[in-house]
């Protein structure tokens, strides 16, 4: 039996290849994701453990709340702590160092690296053994005017020893002479980032720090790192964290893993989508081939094969396809991992990599998932194969008859659809944790797609009529035949189209969501921004030196300037971290509209105003007191003096005076600056004047008009959308293989018909056309259902979002439909060629 199954499988090599490829592409993304993220993680692990090599104990500021993601001011370790460390009898040497983001300018005067690739300014330790890097060429900086730069950046930007590089951070722009090129862990690039190293005092000045980001200590002979750690813990108290060097390296690695974890999850989600689409194709392929081979199964049954044997032989085919596809996918995944990195770099996320890491987990998961998916997808057809009566073998082979859409399947589809919508509703409206809600919505979306796929066999006829009519009008009988062919086996067409539908629905959904996000940001800016300009970091999200806005305020024609700072607090009685916004009460309301601005104007140290949503969520009223824990661990009690409604969404839950934010939260950097014009000043002359000052002194900041600000945010949304499109493209490519596969199989089934068409004078070209139009109609059906479903899902998902402007991107949808049509033409190339190459006589004699 197995021999029969396997022989049959390998006899149809094209089908085998196409089906296996449908699995392979999803597995490719799984394997690629693992290899990619493992490689990044290992690169960071090596960087951290290498840089901690000379360190026995590391002292870092203890943060009550992790603010590292907001890019604000991190707390530091004071010089007094360093002095105490040095006095410890077990310490041989100790040194403080700093490492924080700044802006490094390339030779072209622009910030180095694509948007989002971090630039860092680091200090030399005064002991070379604590340096995290080695000097590859040249020497360590020795004077305040000298710098060392990582060899990777130097190579990319064309810096050589003796060149000058400009930096800006807290202090204004300054040029340094490059005296050294650095390496870390034997690699030129510091994980895709740019790191410029200065002498300690110069780095402190540049970064505007009074304390250190880290104090490193080495133990006297005979003292182990663990002993040193414990001794220092006892001596230094709870204000700082003390870890051994290796513990510190692990801690940093874990941080990076945490922040990259979402990336892995997101990529695996896209892999899941592709595999889901692939499962449709396997299901369809098996359904068709099982139907075509009913006589073969019947013959085996007459010869005494049991139902179980028949079923096992079909499942064995699924297993073989799954294994082959997974193996191919694994190989391709390893090959494309660098491509994923290139994809992320294209949208501005430069991640480090040094050689591919292929973990056992990658291999096991890729093979298991791919095989499981194809076995499961082949299960239903396998069961159907067992239902064949041995009598079938004895009958004359009747031509494949027309199949009516199965009522039972449609009913099942309707039920699955209802379950899917129910699950999504629970995810959307139920009060669940984010993870649970996402799981519900994901499961709901899968069930919805499945339901629509089953149900859509009922839609195939009317839709084929709609999209087929124009083809028929234009191309006559070839169009007519194509349309009829898509309607012959509505279930088959429906599943084929459904595979494409999934990709199209998700693209539609993403584009509607993105359009809504862009619109809501644009209208937020239009409605609420009263300032002439916005000052922000050139990278679009980091905060910047307080000296920037001070400098802007000096420019002629600038009226008022208002800086906005962000931090986090833990509010007693409220789970999780709360976003805190520091504003300048005297200028804020004039430059930004909130309902209840008089409360903002009246802010004083010790008082806060809270956002309307925050107040509602936690049942807070004016007059109540809040106990806040700041990132540095300080506890402050504040009184709520008002509730404001910020429709623009700039401010967080708690708004307080910027001075208090600096004092109690340690936040010195501004995230946004709102700049108003002096009366009578002309925006067209003031903006260039501000630009000149910023370029000259603080190139890390940019001044944007409201329109530029909107464009900038749209650009970021579009970049993200582009990335999503690129990943969804994989699912769409998989579904195109499905169209190819279905066509090839249908053509085999209709060999005799094709022979007849050729015999009565149909040209090869006309035969190709029939096949091509069939593909186009199928893909248009998929695209139409997908677009409608995408719109419905988008409406459903955005309902809980207040004030989310819902606009249907008609142009995008039309482009999508046209693209689907073209994709259909492409998918038809191979099957059409096969169909037209059929030998007339052989085809007529075909059983």
């Amino acid at each position: 039996m197995r021999k029969v199954a396997l022989r049959g499988l390998f006899a149809r090599k094209l089908r085998l290849a196409l089906t296996a490829l449908a699995v392979a592409l999803g597995v490719t993304l799984i394997a690629g994701t693992y290899v990619f993220t493992d490689t990044i993680n290992r690169s960071f692990d090596r960087i951290f453990s290498e840089s901690a090599k000379g360190t026995d104990a590391s002292i870092t500021p203890r943060q009550a709340i992790d603010t590292s993601d907001s890019g604000g001011t991190a707390p530091t370790v004071s010089r007094a702590v360093l002095d105490r460390v040095r006095r410890s009898p077990s310490v041989a040497n100790a040194a403080g160092s700093v490492f924080d983001s700044g802006t490094v300018l390339g030779k072209d005067g622009e910030r180095v690296g694509t948007r989002g690739a971090p630039n860092f300014i680091a200090s030399l330790a005064d002991q070379p053994r604590f340096d995290g890097f080695t000097v590859k060429q040249g020497r360590r900086p020795a004077s305040p005017d000298e710098a060392a730069i990582d060899a990777g950046t130097a190579d990319k930007e064309g810096f050589a020893l003796g060149d000058r590089v400009a930096l800006s951070a807290d202090a204004p722009r300054k040029e340094y002479e490059i005296v050294g090129l650095t390496q870390i862990a034997g690699v030129d690039s510091f994980g895709g980032t740019t790191v410029v190293t200065l002498t300690l005092d110069e780095a402190l000045r540049m970064l505007g720090k009074r304390g250190f980001d880290q104090v490193q200590a080495s133990a006297r002979p005979g003292v182990t790192p663990l002993q040193l750690r414990d001794e220092l813990r006892a001596a230094l108290g709870r204000a700082v964290d003390v870890r051994t060097g290796q513990e510190e390296a692990r801690e940093q690695s874990l941080d990076i893993r945490d922040s990259l974890g979402f990336l892995t999850t997101a990529l695996l989600a896209f892999a899941g989508i592709s595999l889901f689409v692939g499962a449709f194709i396997i299901f369809n392929t098996f359904s068709i081939t099982v139907a075509q081979r009913m006589r073969e199964f019947a013959l085996l049954r007459t010869m005494g094969a049991s139902r179980g044997q028949i079923m096992r032989s079909v499942i064995a085919e699924g297993f073989v396809i799954g294994v082959l596809g997974s193996l191919a996918g694994l190989a391709m995944g390893i090959a494309v991992a660098p491509g994923l990195r290139a994809l992320f770099r294209a949208v501005g996320v430069d991640l480090p990599s040094s050689g591919n890491v292929i973990a056992t987990r990658t291999i096991v998961v890729a093979l298991a998932v791919g095989t499981l998916v194809s076995v499961v997808a082949g299960l239903a057809p396998a069961i159907r194969a067992t239902r064949v009566s041995p009598m079938v073998a004895l009958h004359e082979g009747a031509a494949p008859s027309l199949a009516r859409p199965s009522r039972r399947l449609s009913l099942l589809g309707g039920l699955t659809l209802a379950v899917g919508i129910g699950l999504m509703s629970v995810g959307l409206f139920g009060s669940l944790s984010t993870n649970a809600a996402l799981s519900f919505m994901g499961a709901g979306a899968s069930a919805t797609f499945l339901g629509v796929a089953l149900f859509s066999s009922l839609l195939v006829r009317p839709l084929a009529a709609i999209v087929g009519r124009p083809l028929e009008a234009m191309f006559g009988v070839t169009g007519r035949l194509a349309r009829e062919n898509t309607m012959r086996q509505p279930g088959r067409t429906a599943v084929t189209a459904a595979a494409l539908m999934i990709g199209v629905a998700l693209v539609t959904f993403a584009s509607i969501f993105a359009a809504g996000a862009r619109d809501s940001i644009a209208s937020a800016v239009d409605d609420n921004l009263r300032s002439a300009f916005v000052v922000q970091n050139v990278d679009g999200f980091s905060s910047y030196s307080p000296n920037v806005l001070a400098a802007v305020a000096q420019v002629d024609g600038v009226g008022s300037v208002s800086g906005i700072r962000f931090s986090q607090a833990r509010v007693r009685g409220i789970d999780g971290d709360t976003a805190v916004t520091g504003v300048q009460p005297d200028t804020f309301a004039a430059l930004y509209r909130v309902d209840g601005e008089e409360h903002v104007r009246a802010l004083a140290p010790g008082s806060v105003v809270i956002g309307k949503g925050f107040a509602q969520d936690h049942g807070l009223r004016t007059g109540r007191r809040l106990q806040l824990t700041t990132p540095s661990g300080r506890r402050v009690t504040v009184a709520i003096t008002g509730i404001v409604d910020d429709k623009g969404g700039l401010t967080g839950g708690v708004i307080l005076d910027r001075g208090q934010l600096e004092r109690d939260f340690g936040e010195r950097k501004d995230a946004f600056g709102l700049v108003g014009l002096a009366s009578g000043a002309d925006a067209d002359t003031v903006q260039p004047a501000i630009e000149r000052v910023l370029e000259d002194r603080f190139p890390e900041a940019d001044v944007l008009t409201a329109q530029e600000f909107k464009d900038d945010i749209s650009g970021q949304v579009n970049q993200l959308l582009g990335l999503i499109y690129a990943l969804l493209a994989l699912a769409i490519i998989v579904s195109l293989f499905g169209i190819v596969n279905t066509l090839v199989l249908s053509i085999t089934e209709r060999t005799r018909e094709l022979g007849l068409l050729r015999a009565i004078g149909t040209t090869r070209r006309q035969v190709r056309r029939v096949v091509r139009y069939e593909a186009v109609i199928t893909s248009l059906i998929g695209a139409l259902i997908g677009a409608v479903l995408g719109v419905i899902l988008a409406v459903l998902f955005t309902r809980p979002l207040e004030d989310f402007p819902l606009s249907i991107p008609v142009v995008t949808l039309v482009v999508l439909l046209i693209a689907a049509g073209i994709a259909g033409v492409l998918a038809a190339v191979l099957p059409a060629r096969r169909a037209s190459k059929l030998n007339v006589l052989d085809a007529l004699a075909h059983e």
Binding site: S401, R480, R488, G755, L756, G761, L844
Partner: protein, 243 residues
């Protein structure tokens, strides 16, 4: 020149060899034959005699290994696929043993298919006459699955005649029909010859079917062993036995 004697299809010294070397089979061995306009010829012969191969070659579906074939004045053995397709579309009609109707089209659409493929408008008068002749008036909107075998084959005959081909090739047209349907179909073919002057070449192994023809050609081992009047079924059987 008299119309009745003008040659429509002509094969001269046609040989067809399948396979190569020792395993090769000589299906046709130097066959020469002419088919005049307006004739109804039956080709018979035992299995493997080469009768189907001859028909395929005459119709331009297959190429001879050597020899030449002209159809309506055109040498077809050297035509490329495109011109052969055109030739089939314009001048040749087919009727197959297994009907070979398109299941997705109804009877009328199947009849009109060759015209649609050629992008031609049907001549309504001819069409009406044709439909009248094949007696399908009330079944025209039915799909093949809703028609009996005899009805399906009559649709196939109408389809073959729709483009007014120079010659219709029928390959065992009654092979899948019961005797009553067979009789009706053969009578239909006969009428086409008598009323429309249609040239028909029919391959069959049924003596009764052959007796409807004007002329009987018998092949054996790739050669013509008899070429003469068809006569009554009994005569045909006798001739076949002789072979």
């Amino acid at each position: 020149m008299q119309l009745a004697t003008s040659v429509l299809v002509s094969a001269s010294d046609v040989t067809r060899v399948f396979g190569e070397g020792e395993a090769s089979v000589r299906a046709l061995n130097g066959v020469s034959i002419d088919f005049p306009v307006g004739g109804f010829t039956a080709i018979m012969g035992p299995s493997g005699s080469g009768k189907s191969t001859l028909m395929h070659i005459l119709a331009g579906l297959d190429r001879p290994t050597s020899g030449s074939v002209t159809l309506d004045g055109v040498e077809i053995t050297t035509l490329d696929d495109k011109h052969l397709t055109e030739l089939r579309r314009e001048r040749v009609g087919f009727v197959f043993q297994s009907f070979n109707l398109l299941p997705v089209l109804d009877a009328r659409e199947n009849i009109l298919l060759p015209l649609s493929i050629a992008g031609k408008r049907p001549d309504p008068e001819w069409l009406a006459q044709l439909i009248d002749t094949v007696a399908l008036g009330d079944r025209l909107d039915h799909r093949p699955s809703e028609l009996s075998g005899g009805q399906q084959q009559r649709v196939a005959v109408a389809r073959a005649l729709a483009s007014r081909p120079a010659v219709v090739f029928a390959d065992e047209p009654t092979g899948n029909l019961d005797s009553r349907s067979s009789g009706e179909l053969l009578a239909l073919l006969r009428r086409c010859v008598d009323e429309f002057g249609q040239t028909i070449v029919m391959v069959t192994h049924d003596a009764t079917a052959a007796s409807y023809a004007d002329r009987l050609v018998i092949l054996a081992d790739g050669r013509i062993v008899h070429d003469g009047e068809a006569g009554a079924p009994g005569d045909v059987l006798d001739l076949m036995k002789a072979v």
